[in-house]
């Protein structure tokens, strides 16, 4: 395991007691405001010294209260994008960005400053001081500063909350690439199911200072029992697919075990495996194969389970060539269409509703 965390800490009024293990990749801490996410990240960074617990990263013991061991933060080489920017007010943006590089081992692998500056759109801000930056600009500098310190592990506490969708869409793929190219493990705090689907290898659901559930992200996100934790609207399954071909009209054909899927162009070489989030509310069911509709992706499937909610909705779990899909439909449709487990039917997905934000490398 890349990261083993086991912590207990009493804030007086709030008790933290979590335990989880995270393999390589991106581990997302997901939970409501005040559930203890930042506290966990602080403990990994060494800023919070827990009452009891043990934290290991890549085989190195960072904290072990039983042995009275607590590696100081500066020896951990853990980059941390704090929830608030925490820029150094006396340094320019360029100096803030370069701060960590100064202390990093010369020969450590790391991202190139120029690349990061361009990615984060900081070129014209380099000479400024933090006071003269907007909220989102500050946060971007903080992200760059942490990445450029050549960390062994990256902690990101809601790093994109202050950013607009366009900028977020630029940064997310880069974080994926960090994960893949540099093999940089990331512990990521997020409120956003989209970010979770896109980035998370492992998901740790935190509730009231405890781990509600931890495990592979794809599995947890397709678990109807956890739907309320994500928020119903955020629910969706994640399926595996492989890039088959880039076609002339800008679509990319993927092959999943259930058949071919067309999605907007994906910037990955044919043969690449990827993960595709299919939000439950984007799936339409049809009894017969629909003809003459604008939805390009129509796959045969079999109902495995139906779970009626308290409201007007129902969750339909489908086996689609061995992968699990979730569809959120009205109970009226369940009745009207006579849906029942074991029934064969078709799922209909629009090519464009599977937006690039919902895909990530695997």
């Amino acid at each position: 395991m890349t990261l083993d965390v086991q912590l207990a800490h009493d804030f007086g009024g709030f008790a933290l007691d979590v335990e989880f293990a995270a393999p390589d990749g991106v581990t997302v801490l997901f939970g409501r405001s005040g559930s203890g996410k930042t506290s966990v990240v602080n403990a990994v960074a060494g800023i919070l010294r827990p009452d009891r617990g043990k934290v290991m990263a890549q085989g190195i013991v960072l904290t072990d209260t039983a042995r009275g061991l607590h590696l100081p933060p500066f020896r951990r080489r853990i980059g941390y994008v704090f929830q608030e920017p925490r820029l150094f007010p006396h340094l320019t943006v360029a100096q803030n960005l370069g701060f960590g590089r100064w202390f990093a081992p010369r020969n450590a692998a790391g991202a190139s400053p120029e690349r990061i500056i361009t990615l984060l759109g900081l070129e014209h801000l380099l000479a400024r001081r933090p006071l003269a930056l907007s909220g989102g600009e500050k946060q971007r500098v903080a992200i760059g500063r942490a990445i450029l310190s050549k960390p062994r592990l990256l902690l990101m506490d809601e790093p994109l909350a202050a950013l607009d969708a366009a900028r977020r869409d630029e940064i997310l793929p880069y974080l994926e690439r960090l994960r893949e190219e540099l093999g940089l493990p990331i512990l990521y705090v997020s409120h956003s199911a989209v970010e979770v689907a896109r980035l998370a290898t492992t998901l740790v659901l935190i509730e009231g200072g405890r781990v509600r559930k931890a495990g592979p992200a794809a599995q947890l996100m397709a678990d109807p029992a956890l739907a309320p934790a994500f928020g119903l609207r955020e629910l969706g399954a994640v399926i595996r697919a492989e890039v088959a071909a880039h076609e002339d009209d800008g679509l990319t054909r993927l092959t999943a075990s259930a058949g071919s899927l067309w999605v907007p162009h994906v910037d990955m070489a044919p043969g690449t495996h990827l993960r595709l989030r299919v939000p439950a509310s984007d799936v339409t069911l049809a009894l017969r194969r629909p003809e003459g509709v604008s939805a390009l992706n129509i796959l045969p499937a079999r109902i495995t389970a139906i779970r009626r909610g308290d409201g007007p909705g129902a969750l339909v779990q489908l086996d689609c060539g061995g992968e699990l899909l979730l569809a959120r439909v009205t109970q009226r449709s369940v009745e009207g269409m006579g849906l029942a487990p074991g029934m064969d039917l078709y799922v209909m997905l629009k090519a464009l509703s599977v937006a690039p934000q919902n895909m990530g490398g695997d």
């Binding site: 500066f74 980059g79 007010p89 701060f99």
Partner: protein
């Protein structure tokens, strides 16, 4: 001009400048260290150290001078040791005036710096630590630049106090023209003879001019530093 200012007075002005400069420069690093210890440290002797630092403020200057004489005089324990071990003599030398001025100014400097240290947001220091900076490097790259205005204030206070220090200095190093007669001692000497008021007044004016100059310089520097830090 020679008529305006007696030659010994010019010497005193020059000596005072030298004494104040060195008292400021030499005590500043120690003051920063002590301020840090007092602001951040959690060690047993903290209260004692704090008390010790403040003694020169609390005691009448003459007493401080007297204590300095007892400790650092030729026959004093520290004084004789310094003399034997390093050949350093402080009593009745201008170096002693530096010591007296530094000691008298020390509480002011430490207090100013300590206030600044306490105003530094520890979250920034944490951030620096996560970026790989050791405690020393955090201090040099984050804390120190942020407390610079306070250090500056401390330095000006030290300099101003040193320019005006009289009681401890005259008690410790006497009032030897050209060697230990600082500006305040010279003013005192003029004030204690009939008809010396006018000469004293001139020296007072010089003293004011110098200190106000230093003050203005510090204000200006402070503003530059503050602007860099992004304070209002």
């Amino acid at each position: 001009m020679t008529g305006w200012l007696p030659p010994e007075a010019a010497t005193a002005v020059w000596l005072s400048l030298r004494v104040s400069f060195w008292a400021t420069v030499l005590s500043l690093p120690l003051a920063v260290l002590v301020a840090l210890l007092l602001a951040r440290g959690r060690f047993p002797g903290r209260g004692l150290l704090n008390g010790l630092v403040h003694l020169p403020l609390i005691l009448p200057p003459v007493v401080t001078g007297y204590l300095l004489l007892l400790a650092f005089g030729r026959n004093g324990p520290v004084g004789s040791w310094l003399h034997e071990a390093f050949g350093i003599t402080l009593a009745f030398r201008w170096t002693g005036a530096v010591l007296a001025a530094a000691v008298m100014a020390f509480p002011l400097t430490v207090r100013a710096i300590r206030l600044s240290v306490e105003a530094v947001d520890p979250k920034l220091e944490q951030a620096a630590a996560t970026l790989g900076a050791s405690r020393l490097m955090v201090f040099l790259t984050v804390t120190l630049p942020l407390i610079l205005p306070g250090v500056l204030v401390g330095a000006v206070l030290a300099f101003a106090k040193a320019m005006g220090e009289f009681g401890a200095t005259i008690t410790f190093v006497s009032n030897i023209p050209g060697q230990t007669q600082t500006l305040p001692s010279a003013i005192y000497a003029f004030l204690s003879v009939p008809g010396g008021d006018e000469a004293a007044l001139r020296l007072v004016l010089i003293s004011i001019a110098i200190a106000l100059g230093a003050l203005a310089l510090a204000e200006w520097l402070g503003r530059v530093v503050a602007r860099r830090i992004g304070a209002p």
